[in-house]
Symmetry: C2
Subunit: 703 residues, 2 copies
């Protein structure tokens, strides 16, 4: 008698991944709760997040479920709307920063919801705040309660069908009519149709639109205007044509729309006039600090960089837990009759452990970026309010740093997340392709991050251009670079031709940071020469994007080194030292080995050793604590929402149950089964056909 019953009847022993998970946890050499605080930056933030997690996992509307993976476009939109309605109840009564944190945590599993609210509260309102007067902000956002998702729902009418990245090129016109004291908003041709506008298709009552200001025939460039789209009955305003732009690769919960304006009139007071002003008789006052208006767009970029941490934490948790519980083939040293756990294969470690290390490094770096953003915005607002010119000047410098930092982190990290989700999914084999593991929807939802709010290549080129200019200023004019690019001030030193990384002893965070900085300067230096030879910035676009990526890593490595200096617990330091080592060996020295070697910062022999020896050892070191390192992210099962990634590791049972719950097993025939059966039981071609192939009929026809 070999049969036995546990949860179900087995006639031979099946797999037991939960037990394997227990063995991993028994090996923990640090407390995941301690690590969690390091990852989130402060104990207060860490505590707040657990509070919010608890509130979210209990909320009947906001909590995710496996049904989320089955929704049609219409159902997805409806669900998102219910969740928005639920969120309006929180926005009124919890502190605003807590509300944003809640939204940020939800974005990791429902990015459609995240972006629908962020377009309204982030882009629309920030546009009014950044471009409007205090009175305008007060009127639209506070008096009309837009800030609390009440009365108004705003969308952000910047991009057009013909202009996405080049926002300064939009072609919608806002022509001043001095007679009526109004602006006439018009879409001159198909290319100027507002496109992709999130919330426009069905939700928005208002839009903050980007249009060319035309006064007395003169084009003053692109300014911003508040334009009502729907009346109080939620019917389209006259002259406003709006449609749904339809299906997308992902984010189906968002009602992106297109808008065409046919001579729509708005009062002059609806132009946002913090900087540029048009008075009653059409006199235009030029803004001294208009460049500052773009700072309102930075919040989105900063947030997207941070999103990498949450999304990677989610999926590396799933993939690592799966790798512990999954056995396949017998690897070297396998016990008799036992297959090897995926996580014990060196190749599998090499696929996943660098993602785990990246997640840690990015967590700290994006936390720093968030804080940097907050302080820059605050500093600027104060300086402008006090009209303190010196402070404004300093603030502008810091804003420029933030532009470079957010551009390079947003682009580099959204790309890395794209690759990390893909690799984690593939590491879960076929089950990674099942909707219920969560990868598919998240990937499709994620990848638009590489394109919107600054296409990654465009942002990369922009950051890279600034880096090149900084290095040129230092080398040619002995300039000092302030802010986070301070290290570029030492450009002369970095150009000295010595190989920085020669032996294994050089493979420590500080020396690698130095080497990376040297590489940045050398690439920039050579790129400047190349640009001068061809008199073309376009010819060094590749190098500019490369510089942006390297700069992102410099920011991350530096932040991690700084953070480690403040950690007291030796057991945390011990494992974090292993994490950062794996990070720089793989993401820096291996991935950019071509540049490190070719620009003579790293010797080829050491480069080869890194690939063939050190990375393997380093992966194994991180693998030892992999489960505790992922447990440290503290993501509850409900929010992980993956049938193969639960805390207890018992994914065979869980996954099968989810499949059976989501797909009624009593429906054994498909709705189209009769068609199938008729097809299989069809007559022969001759019997069915009308070619009258029988000898008899042909005989008759031939006479």
């Amino acid at each position: 008698m070999t049969s036995f019953t546990k949860t179900s009847v087995s006639t031979s022993p099946g797999p037991d991944p939960g037990a394997l998970m227990g063995l991993e946890r028994a090996k923990a050499c640090f407390d995941p709760r301690d690590m969690y605080q390091i990852i989130e930056g402060t104990p207060e933030k860490a505590h707040k997040i657990l509070d919010l997690y608890q509130s979210l996992e209990r909320d009947p509307i906001l909590a995710p479920s496996f049904k989320d993976y089955e929704l049609s476009r219409g159902e997805n939109r409806e669900q998102t709307t219910s969740r928005i309605a639920r969120m309006t109840q929180y926005v009124e009564q919890e502190p605003y920063p807590d509300f944003w944190r809640r939204l940020n945590l939800m974005t990791a599993y429902d990015p459609s919801l995240g972006i629908r609210i962020a377009v309204n509260l982030g882009l629309f309102i920030n546009c009014i705040k950044g471009n409007g007067t205090d009175a305008q902000y007060k009127y639209w956002c506070l008096e009309k309660e837009a800030k609390y998702m009440k009365q108004l729902w705003g969308c952000f009418g910047m991009t057009e069908l013909g202009h996405g990245s080049n926002a300064a090129g939009v072609e919608t016109t806002a022509t001043f009519d001095a007679e009526t004291d109004e602006f006439v908003i018009n879409t001159p041709h198909i290319g100027a149709t507002k496109w992709w506008i999130g919330g426009a298709a069905h939700s928005a009552t208002h839009s903050s639109i980007y249009a060319r200001l035309i006064v007395k025939g003169k084009d003053w460039g692109v300014k911003t205007f508040v334009v009502p789209l729907r009346d109080s009955n939620h019917q389209l305003m006259p002259g406003v044509a709006i449609g749904d732009i339809g299906s997308k690769m992902g984010r189906e919960g968002v009602d992106n729309g297109w808008i065409q304006f046919s001579s729509v009139r708005i009062p002059r007071a609806f132009m946002l006039q913090k900087y540029c002003k048009v008075d009653r008789d059409g006199t235009v006052t030029l803004p001294p600090l208009e460049q500052l208006s773009y700072i309102s767009l930075l919040q989105g970029r900063v947030g997207m960089a941070s999103d990498l941490y949450r999304i990677c934490a989610r999926f590396i948790t799933v993939a690592t837990r799966y790798a512990v519980g999954r056995r396949q083939f017998r690897g070297d040293g396998a016990k008799k009759g036992e297959e090897t756990q995926l996580i014990n294969y060196p190749l599998h470690q090499r696929r996943l452990m660098p993602i785990l290390a990246l997640t840690y490094v990015a967590a700290l770096a994006t936390d720093r970026l968030e804080r940097q953003h907050e302080s820059v915005v605050e500093e600027l607002e104060t300086a402008v309010k006090l009209n303190d010119e010196k402070a404004i000047h300093k603030s502008l410098g810091d804003t420029k740093s933030l532009f470079v930092d957010s551009a390079s982190l947003k682009s580099t990290l959204t790309w890395l997340a794209e690759q990390s989700i893909t690799e984690s999914r593939q590491a879960c084999g076929g089950l990674g392709y099942s909707a219920y593991s969560g990868f598919g929807k998240s990937y499709a939802d994620w990848v638009v991050q590489c394109t919107w709010e600054g296409d990654n290549n465009v942002l990369g080129m922009s950051a890279g251009r600034t880096i090149m200019k900084n290095v040129e200023d230092v080398l040619n004019k002995n300039a000092k670079i302030s802010g986070t690019s301070l290290f570029l001030s030492k450009a002369h030193e970095y150009l000295g031709g010595e190989l920085v990384l020669q032996t294994e002893a050089d493979l420590n965070p500080t020396t690698v940071l130095w080497a990376l900085e040297a590489l940045i300067v050398r690439v920039a230096f050579e790129a400047s020469k190349k640009r001068d030879e061809s008199s073309s910035w376009d010819n060094v676009s590749y190098e500019r994007v490369l510089l942006s990526k390297l700069r992102c890593h410099q920011y991350m490595l530096l932040t991690f080194i700084d953070a480690m200096a403040n950690i007291g617990k030796p057991e945390l330091l011990y494992i974090l030292a292993r994490v950062v080592r794996l990070y720089f060996l793989t993401h820096l020295l291996e991935n950019f080995s071509r540049e490190f070697v070719n620009y003579q910062v790293l010797c080829p022999k050491l480069s080869l050793q890194i690939s063939t020896q050190f990375i393997g050892v380093s992966c194994l070191q991180v693998r030892e604590q992999a489960i505790t390192l992922t447990d440290s992210f503290q993501i509850p099962d409900t929010l992980l929402n993956s049938a193969i990634g639960g805390y207890d590791g018992n994914w065979y049972e869980t996954y099968f149950k989810v499949v059976k719950t989501q797909n009624d097993i009593t429906e054994t025939k498909a709705p189209y089964s009769l068609d199938l059966e008729a097809m299989l039981n069809r007559l022969s071609y001759n019997e069915r056909g009308r070619l009258e192939k029988s000898a008899e009929s042909i005989e008759k026809l031939s006479h």
Copy 2:
């Protein structure tokens, strides 16, 4: 008066991408119809494909449409079923190879259809053909008409929830009952549940299953059996439990299912007994050539490698046409008032042109692989039929070559396709994310190719292991390697330490091929040493996958060089020389520069020049003929099924029309609009709430 009407009213001139497309075609320096024949291999094949394209674009059921991008899971399944029913009409009356070609072409736009039929006609029937006797094949496939998708619908019951890659480890049992002369098929535990079985959920009447043969208590390993799943009323047979495995990342048109057998009895004659036989009294005859049974699985791999060409041809056509018609920003040398076409930016060329080059090289290589597969199968069948031992031995050698070739091409090319679709999509900016450009669905459908029919890493390790062994045999035993790995026989020569690529003059196909072969041998040689040191094959898994990738490129480059030797038209040779140069500069020397430099095949200085100088020049050379090179794929608009990739280049008009057609513009309110409106017009928190916050109520409650 600045307004004017063309197709619609404009008040200022809009974009005119169609005109730009005309300018590109005027620059053509070769005839795309000539090139098309080169790409497809022979004029006959090329002609046949155009015939099939015409038939497909006209067929009301088989032709794709933009509606395909909007289907729910249920609708998708239903549509796939209609298309299958339509295909059964072709299978009966067109030559079988033509039918497969038709299916292959459809797979580029409807992979769900492709795989549903391929599981039945490919995997199920090939399993019977490969493992069954002639009589068994004749019975099931011809007499019962399975080959014509009639009477039977077969699925392929190999993988289980607990065993995907390691098929030899499946745990379903087939126990011989000598008393009744039957096999008892049983699923012992949850891990042995058949999983992912395409067609099982609703379509299949039969399954060819992999199960452990147990006779008199002895486990004889995994054999194959035909097991009926549904009766003639299409109801589940007793003891058979089947369910839908539910939503997936893509391929929603496929009814993948799970199957559990509870002591299901089948006649002994349902075991496939070409090799292993069980006679009436339970005597098992061991097969001398059982390894040959796996050859039936190779067809799928070969097909998937070929799919790369069709899918990349489709999307590089879209992305290149879009890049011609799209202007954004003003690049260096832009004319006054004009933005620059994306395709004229060096970085954009560097993103797309290498994919175009890869598509050409892969087209020829996969055509060769298809022919190689056909001849190996034929050769083996003849040899076995004649029982010609010498021929069988030769044939086994060729089969081994095919294993390595198909494994390395399938894995390397499905990965490259995944990256190529992603890069092409991102190169179309926001519109790449619109469902109607076609990228999203195709990506989601595609990526499972990296996992199924041999997980890419598992295949890569397998191919790499063979390469290592071959090199060891040559170096240690002076063995000669036959077949397509012939070059490894020169391993001694390649090990000589000279740098192969030192100056620009070395950058020609033949020398690069030599360098690549040298790199393969050197990597294999070092990997063998590393394996010996650790006595572990697992420790060199990374190197084995690397070898597999390099081997794929060796196969491709060699094939291209051979093909060029047979091309007569100088204008084709001229552009193809540019294409292959770009291919090896980017996909080989840049992407593997770490290995080329570190294993001392390429000098670092040249490597740097390749990245910073030669690739840019080479991209520009290919860009000049990019439209003609993509026109040469001859994909008709209907089958391209992309709103931004049409032949005429007028994507603004086309895309807008598709969006308006697919999304009724008269429905200005969403079905959930009332919820939204109620939310915006809600009472205040205090008015709504039950916290009785009014001073009056608190006053009352406090007494």
